[in-house]
């Protein structure tokens, strides 16, 4: 008879089997596309007197798709979903699948005929006929928004549909059992989407200007005529409220500019960064020209040694820059001490980090030289400024020596 296995051997075998299964599951999730969902950024402050329709339209496109290249995002296999979340339900492109809400395709040459007219004209059609029924239905104000349907133009209809989706529901797109009187669309200026008034105007601007005909742009005027008041910029008032709040520790957000992040995180105290007005004099840390530095650093013997010791892990320039900010002790640039603050991982949001990393990865020798910046004398990689006799034109991007 075969010798019986002890419980210990079986525990080890089962443990190994468990580890294998868990490793396989975790590995599979890491192999699938990695998509991170960031919290929406705060409304962009704009000067309403100076902003052009095109600028508003560009802003609207970003709010809708989260990018000004939605087709590029689609091509990558991702959904172009911005802060407004519109493409979750509305179809904007033939390449996109979304049929839960009326399509917003702008293809005048397409069949069927509905698609032949622009969004503005299509909206104008909707404030006629069946719209009167909704006026009667909500004569005392629609219950969630308090609005009485009163749009008279296509522009006003588009504005109204954002603030009061139930004020008119397109046939076939109402909630089941409501006879197309209740819309599944959330109120856009309320949670969870919470777009500011100017952002809604920007979205409507995008819808009106998609076919490039600026004469159709009425978004701002439509908003003002619909609500009977002047459209106010979001920064006003909100700023005063901010002042009254106790200020917490600095945080780098995706909505901030690079200058603001550098100032808030006090990077300028130690580093020189090309293109950032406040960061011209730092004498404690390396010059931050990461388009040049990062690829060379990860190839350096010092970095390879840090990798071998298990301290550093970057394999690409981007990973190197992220690692330098999130875990400054992972690799110390030769010639410097390990005295960078270690709490940036708590101060940067993921989108804030993206803004900073993207910027640093665009800075190279040429951008530093253009501003007369040089490495510190203790930097092993040496000076980047050309000898006095050479001209700036001879310095190439990526030149290290």
């Amino acid at each position: 008879m075969a010798k019986k296995k002890g419980a210990g051997t079986i525990v080890i075998k089962v443990a190994l089997w468990y580890m294998f299964i868990l490793g396989a599951f975790a590995g599979y999730t890491n192999w699938l596309p990695q998509i991170r969902g960031d919290a929406p950024e705060a409304a962009e402050a704009i000067n309403l007197d100076e902003v052009t329709p095109d600028q508003l339209s560009t802003m609207g496109e970003k709010i809708i798709f989260g990018s000004n290249d939605p087709l590029g995002v689609l091509a990558k296999g991702e959904g172009p979903i911005g802060k407004g979340q519109c493409p979750l339900c509305h179809r904007f492109f033939l390449e996109q699948k979304a049929d839960r809400c009326p399509n917003l395709l702008a293809l005048p040459e397409m069949e069927p005929p509905l698609l032949k007219i622009s969004e503005e004209a299509r909206s104008h059609e909707r404030v006629k006929g069946r719209y009167e029924e909704f006026k009667k239905l909500h004569a005392n104000g629609e219950k969630n928004s308090g609005i009485v349907p009163h749009a008279t133009t296509g522009g006003e209809y588009l504005i109204e549909s954002e603030y009061c989706p139930n004020c008119f529901v397109v046939v076939g797109f109402g909630l089941k059992g409501t006879n197309d009187t209740v819309s599944p669309m959330p109120i856009i200026n309320k949670p969870p989407i919470e777009l500011a008034d100017t952002e809604i105007v920007a979205v409507v601007s995008f819808l009106q200007l998609r076919d490039g005909d600026e004469s159709k742009w009425t978004a701002k005027d439509s908003w003002e005529s619909y609500f009977g008041k002047e459209l106010a910029a979001p920064a006003e008032g909100e700023g005063e409220e901010e002042e009254e709040k106790p200020k917490g520790p600095p945080v780098a957000l995706g909505s901030m500019t690079v200058d603001e992040i550098v100032k808030e995180m006090t990077c300028f105290a130690c580093h020189k960064i090309p293109g950032v007005a406040i960061a011209k004099t730092g004498m404690i840390g390396p010059l931050l020209i990461e388009k040049t530095n990062a690829p060379n650093r990860i190839k350096s013997p010092e970095y390879k040694k840090a990798v071998k010791e298990g301290k550093a892990h970057a394999t690409t320039p981007r990973e190197y820059v992220i690692e330098s900010i999130m875990d400054p002790g992972a690799f110390i640039v030769p010639g410097f001490a390990d005295d960078m603050l270690k709490d940036f991982r708590h101060k940067f949001t993921v989108s804030g980090l993206d803004v900073m990393v993207d910027y640093l990865l665009n800075q190279d020798v040429a951008s530093a030289v253009a501003e007369g910046m040089d490495r510190l004398p203790n930097e092993k990689e040496g000076s980047i400024l050309p000898p006095p006799e050479a001209s700036l034109g001879e310095v190439k991007s990526g030149d290290l020596s």
């Binding site: 468990y18 599951f25 975790a26 998509i35 919290a39 296999g77 959330p186």
Partner: protein, 644 residues
């Protein structure tokens, strides 16, 4: 030993049972009083408070009609400010720390909720068996499982304490708000927990004393089991109300002010489907854990008797797990439907937006579960003489399962390089892309479940020869039933491509009906046909292959992992909200982690859970050294058809 004629003791047991029942109702009586007091207090208020102030009329965020308004009874949800409203430990993401402590508590909570359900069914089967030898087998099995559960209770309580401390240390603002909303029922939760412990001890320690086979004391003992399970389910429902409120808040106004009616806060739009989904999920998970325990004991058993016992136990546990796994996708589907009805963009974020890839992972997990179950049954048939005639069918069944899995796993869109995109001529593959939509996926899962039901029917028949005179008619009916079910599922799946999404969603109902018909009608007819059947030879319990035992481990890990990944999904769909649309997450971690990160944390959580569970098993084994001597199953002994 008790005597059936011992009337005094019987009366004593009934009084004890009644007292426990009364104690159960006590907290609710108190709730009524408090609610009544609030109404009186509100009535006493004569002055009209300003809008939004305590005592003023507030519009419910969710309820409409006659329930639309309530009396403002609390402050608005606080605005969370980082870092004032948050805490952190060193370099770690607070959210991940909370995630781990929550998940561990949930695992053990699920385990101690599921095991008494499992134990109740086993004890009930034991008590109703005419053959007392078989009845005792089920009773011993139930007793053994309860022993393990007892240690797990302490671990659950400790983990619950750790969870509360984690909330208080890392998310004090959020926890404070939720505690203020659920204040009217929080103490009930605590009282029920104490009550459950009391009932549990009476139930467990009274096992031998109240074991008179299938006499009155045994039924009293089963009554206590019912109470124990009822308390467990109420506890779980109460814990679930917090997540239901976080996902779909109700009973509060737009600013999060409590409107005085705790029932509305509890009864949110997603509460019922979440609870049903959780109960089924817990029961399936419990079956998986018990199955893994039995498989381990099976592998480490030194005698054939022990092996026979644990082989049989693992089969029973697997059967219980599957019984609850089969309706689980439907419960999940119902939950998704309710999510769509509650907030359409929430549903699309899950199924077609940010979190769509998680569903590919979920599909992998469910497919793993079903394939593993079928594999286990194929292996289990190896110890059933007469099953050889069904061996040729295995490869076809496996092929159907694999094809369904591949179809289910096919994503809607693919990640491609620009060159690949150009070569393909679009984001969607002209052929493969068709399998990425819901029509294909619904068809796949329904086909997999129907196939599993068929495998189970074959398992039931494996060592039997049907003798009923209507055998050929029965066989024709079953062939027709399964064939029609598959044709219907496939036809509706294809038809779904030609109709709009909002109509397509309705097709899943007839697909599910087809599947459930095979489950209920098919299994019922098959069981009826087996009545009076001849046995080819008894099942050779204890001779299950080692591969079968390892399949049970895979089943258990897959259950645990699926729970984790679906928890990540459910929690992530709130995006940057602690309480959807009411309390925004303003911490630096207000982003949704990518799937890979979640996968790593899930694997770590599952490993931690199983390591702790191993400790629990070991602890219980210290007190159970004598347990195998109670085993009455002989190697190769047949068990009744009811246990198949």
């Amino acid at each position: 030993m008790f005597s059936v004629n011992n009337k005094k003791k019987k009366i004593g047991a009934l009084i004890l049972l009644s007292m426990i029942g009364m104690l159960l109702l006590l907290p609710f009586a108190q709730m009524d009083v408090s609610a009544q007091g609030k109404e009186e207090a509100a009535a006493e208020e004569s002055a009209e408070p300003a809008e939004g102030e305590i005592g003023s009329k507030g519009k419910d965020k969710q309820y409409g009609g006659v329930n639309e308004f309530g009396i403002v009874s609390g402050p608005p949800a606080p605005e969370m400010v980082y870092p004032d409203s948050y805490g952190s430990y060193g370099d770690y993401q607070s959210r991940t720390l909370l995630w781990v402590s929550n998940q561990q508590h949930l695992y053990f909570g699920s385990f101690v909720l599921a095991v008494p359900m499992f134990v109740f069914v086993m004890e009930l089967i034991g008590a109703t068996q005419k053959d007392r030898k078989v009845g005792k087998k089920f009773d011993d099995l139930a007793h053994e499982m309860m022993k393990i559960s007892l240690t797990a209770y302490s671990v659950t309580a400790i983990l619950g304490g750790i969870l509360i401390f984690t909330f208080l240390a890392l998310y004090p603002g959020f926890f404070g708000y939720l505690a203020s909303i659920f204040k009217p029922v929080m103490h009930i939760y605590a009282l029920l927990f104490i009550l459950e412990s009391g009932v549990l001890y009476v139930y467990y320690y009274g096992w031998d004393a109240m074991n008179d086979g299938n006499g009155n004391w045994k039924w009293t003992h089963l009554g206590i089991s019912c109470i124990l399970n009822a308390i467990g389910i109420v506890l779980m429902v109460m814990a679930n109300t917090w997540i239901g409120f976080m996902m779909s808040p109700a009973g509060v106004d737009e600013s999060g002010r409590f409107l005085g009616d705790i029932w509305k806060v509890i009864h949110t739009p997603l509460m019922v489907p979440i609870v049903i989904h959780r109960i089924l999920g817990n029961a399936a998970f419990g079956g998986g854990v018990v199955g893994a325990y039995a498989a381990f004991r099976f592998l480490s058993s030194k005698t054939l008797e022990e092996k026979a016992h644990y082989d049989w136990m693992s089969y029973i546990a697997m059967f219980m797990g599957i019984l609850n796994l089969i309706p689980l996708p439907f419960a999940g589907y119902w939950l998704m439907r309710e999510i769509y009805a509650y907030r359409q963009q929430m549903g699309i974020t899950l199924m077609g937006g940010l979190l769509a890839w998680v569903f590919i992972m979920q599909a992998t997990m469910i497919a793993t579960l079903f394939i593993t179950v079928n594999y286990y049954l194929f292996q289990a048939m190896g110890r059933m003489p007469g099953a050889e005639r069904y061996y040729p069918a295995f490869k076809f069944l496996l092929a159907i399962l694999v094809i369904s899995t591949i179809s289910w796993l096919t994503p809607h869109t693919l990640v491609m390089t620009p060159a690949e995109l150009k070569a393909m001529g679009g984001q969607q593959h002209p052929v493969v892309g068709n399998y990425g939509v819901m029509s294909a996926k619904n068809t796949a899962i329904n086909t997999m479940i129907t196939t599993t039901v068929l495998t189970f029917c074959l398992y039931q028949r494996a060592n039997r020869i049907i003798t009923v005179p209507w055998a050929w008619k029965g066989n024709c009916f079953l062939i027709l039933l399964f064939a029609m079910a598959w044709v219907n599922i496939l036809f509706l799946g294809i038809y779904g491509y030609f109709i709009p999404a909002n109509v397509r969603i309705g097709l899943s109902v007839p697909q599910v009906v087809s599947t459930l018909t095979t489950l209920f009608v098919g299994v019922a007819v098959n069981t009826k046909m087996l009545k009076g059947s001849k046995e080819v030879a008894p099942i050779r319990w204890g001779q299950m292959s080692v591969r079968g035992a390892y399949a049970l481990f895979l089943l258990a890990v897959a259950f645990t992992w699926t729970m984790a990944v679906m928890g990540y999904l459910r929690s992530s769909v709130r995006l940057h909200w602690h309480v959807n649309e009411i309390m925004r997450d303003n911490s630096p971690w207000a982003f949704t982690n990518p799937l890979g990160y979640a996968g790593n944390i899930n694997s770590m959580n599952v490993l931690l859970f199983w390591t702790m569970l191993l400790f629990v098993f070991w602890l219980s084994s210290l007190a159970a050294k004598k347990a195998p001597s109670k085993v009455t199953a002989d190697a190769g002994e047949a068990v009744p058809a009811a246990s198949h």
